[in-house]
């Protein structure tokens, strides 16, 4: 009973403390502004140039409210250039320290808005999430891997030892038996099984045919997969994840592969396209980083550094150095020279989704070839897929005549001539 009472007292005291803390902290926020509203304002107005903990175009802003007094901050944020021109020493110092970059003025922000923003910048940095359980597991897993190997080795050793001992025992037993003059019953010589088999002509024929058939089957399968690269997933110079870009962040395929809409090739984006986002995205968020390390064994931030290196982007000055290197992506999909394939014909004219041919790209951490790209694959689809004629004036007449000829409502690509050798081979 005593113990229980103690516990109660403790919990009550801590509850009181908690209540006190909460009331205290809410009263503090009430004076200083609303951090949640401030976050929205910060993200839409300031985040283009300021990060909380890292220098961007402007300096890091966490705890900036402790550095200056409120009135100075009000006038700086509303019109920093005016403050600099008025000869304010602190303002000029900041301006000079940042290569005289001009900060946008925000005359539309009220003092209350600025209080909200400052309340947000004064929040403590959230602690990094507790080390993901995965990392701990990883270590122990590799530890158990070692011990597994040791156990296996020991088992093999014991096994070998047993075999050796068995041999020794039998040989000594035999010696003893021979010494004692024990005689073995001599086995009556029977016709061996294989001889009986060879002499039975029928069985021999059947099994030979069977054998030839299976061999032919395997040989056929083997020859048919020569030159087919389905599943080919080479290591790329930069670990570029379609899962993160096209999946999680829903970037449209055409954003990067922008020539698929209007040309034969789909193209791999040049680095200026990457930099449109990555000028600003210098590192991935912590949960994504942890996921990459655990599940794929890749440090995503290092991969982005490789991109910066190739594009010649200097993170410390936030500018291009002009020293660029080509990124040598390894080509995956590649038709032989004698076949012609055109992306715009399929993407723009036929309206076929990329995923129909390239598979669930938005789930691929590492890009791989999903379809076989054999002639049979092309032909099958041409036989099954209808031509997309709606709103295409070019097709009106030809569709009318061909559908009369074939007596069908909807023409397939094959009926349009998608099986003619010359369309794909030239």
């Amino acid at each position: 009973m005593q113990k229980v009472n103690f516990k109660n007292i403790f919990s009550r005291v801590s509850l009181l403390l908690l209540v006190a803390m909460l009331t205290f902290s809410t009263s503090v926020f009430a004076q200083e502004g609303d951090a949640a509203a401030g976050k929205t304002l910060f993200n839409s107005n300031c985040a283009a140039c300021h990060k909380l903990d890292k220098k961007a175009t402007g300096p890091a802003l966490r705890h900036v409210a402790d550095k200056y007094d409120r009135d100075w901050l009000y006038s700086w944020i509303k019109d920093s250039q005016a403050l600099i021109k008025s000869g304010d020493a602190k303002a000029i110092e900041v301006f000079e320290a940042n290569n005289k970059a001009v900060m946008t003025s925000f005359p539309a922000l009220s003092n209350a808005d600025i209080d909200n923003i400052l309340a947000y910048t004064s929040e403590e940095k959230p602690l990094p999430p507790a080390p993901a359980p995965g990392t701990g597991d990883g270590v122990s897993a590799s530890g158990s891997g070692v011990s597994n190997n040791v156990i296996l080795g020991a088992l093999v050793f014991v096994f070998l030892l047993l075999i050796v001992m068995l041999f020794l025992v039998t040989s000594t037993l035999k010696k003893i038996a021979a010494h004692n003059g024990v005689e073995y019953a001599v086995e009556e010589s029977r016709k061996p099984l294989w001889k009986a088999f060879v002499e039975n002509q029928f069985l021999l024929l059947v099994s030979a045919v069977l054998l030839l058939l299976t061999a032919a089957y395997f040989m056929y399968g083997f020859f048919m997969q020569v030159g087919v690269d389905q599943g080919y997933a080479p290591v790329q110079p930069i670990h570029f994840s379609h899962r993160i870009h096209a999946g999680d962040n829903q970037v449209d395929c055409n954003y990067c592969h922008s020539s698929a809409r209007k040309s034969k090739t789909s193209g791999i984006p040049s680095l200026n396209v990457c930099m449109n986002c990555h000028k600003n995205i210098g590192e991935v968020s912590e949960d994504v980083l942890a996921e990459g390390l655990d599940e794929h064994g890749v440090d995503y931030n290092k991969e982005i550094m490789k991109l910066y290196d190739a594009a010649g982007w200097d993170v410390s000055t936030m500018s291009y150095t002009g020293e660029t290197k080509p990124v040598k992506w390894v080509r995956i999909h590649n038709l032989p020279d004698f076949a012609y394939f055109n992306h715009s014909q399929h993407v723009t004219v036929a309206g076929v989704a990329c995923q129909k041919c390239h598979g669930p790209v938005e789930e691929m951490e590492i890009m791989e070839q999903f379809s076989p790209l054999t002639m049979g694959w092309c032909i099958d689809c041409h036989r099954e897929t209808n031509v997309n004629v709606s709103g295409n004036a070019y097709y009106e007449k030809i569709h009318e005549e061909l559908s009369k000829k074939y007596g069908v409502e909807q023409l397939t690509a094959a009926q349009m001539g998608g099986l003619e050798c010359g369309k794909c081979h030239y």
Partner: protein, 225 residues
């Protein structure tokens, strides 16, 4: 006994052949000399003098212009931004085709950041990957046709240039859509083709699917306006 051994060996060989597939390497080919083209392939690497780093992909010679090229008389300076905002006007008519293409291109290139509605809440902003994206209706931003075109050409601060992914006509089509999004956000009347206004159904086209309209193929031909 020899025969069984032989069978066994054949099977082993078959299994070995079947299992030597390795996803990190391309498969072998029947007649490699008919697979590899004689001409240079897109993005190929060749040991040819004049190919910098052996790369087939090269920058165009300085001074070359693409077909249908129109000079752009504005540079990326604060003065020219102001000049573009006041002087540069949209040469394209507001037609159904242009609006539909604009909506679709906008959804491909801009919506990740600016959001389908132009309110600055695209998926990257919602997931807090890319911050500081304004709404087109943001107070204090002077957004005009010329300004929208200029920002696509040169970018602005953290927004990059989209001139490498779109051609002139496409940029103006996007501009039309952006101006309509801005009008919709501000509750002002939309710019729509005459026919639709007569029908009294002012609605923005939605470029839902990622595939372009057939007419888009003809867009490289800029002189159509």
């Amino acid at each position: 006994m020899r025969k069984i051994g032989n069978i066994f060996i054949v099977f082993l060989a078959l299994i070995a052949l079947a299992s030597c597939q390795n996803d990190l390497e391309p498969n072998y080919q029947f007649m490699p000399n008919m697979y590899a083209p004689v001409g240079y392939e897109t993005y190929g690497e060749y040991d040819v003098e004049g190919f910098e780093g052996g790369q087939e992909a090269k920058l165009p010679v300085e001074g070359t212009v693409p077909r249908g090229f129109q000079p752009f008389d504005y540079t990326n300076s604060p003065e020219d931004i102001a000049r573009a905002k006041s002087d540069l006007k949209n040469p394209l008519e507001y037609t159904e085709d242009n609006l539909a293409a604009g909506a679709q291109l906008y959804n491909i290139y801009c919506a990740v950041c600016h959001g389908d509605k132009g309110d600055g809440l695209g998926i990257l902003a919602k997931r807090e990957k890319f911050l500081g994206i304004p709404s087109y209706a943001a107070a204090g931003r002077e957004i005009t046709e010329g300004g929208v075109y200029h920002v696509q050409m040169y970018g602005l601060n953290t927004m990059g240039s989209y001139a490498s992914q779109t051609n002139e006509k496409e940029r103006w089509q996007i501009t039309q859509h952006v101006m309509n999004l801005k009008a919709a956000l501000e509750g002002k009347p939309l710019m729509l083709p005459k026919k639709i206004i007569d029908n009294q159904t002012p609605q923005l086209p939605v470029g839902g699917d990622a595939t372009a309209t057939p007419t888009e193929l003809e867009q490289d031909n800029i002189d159509s306006h």
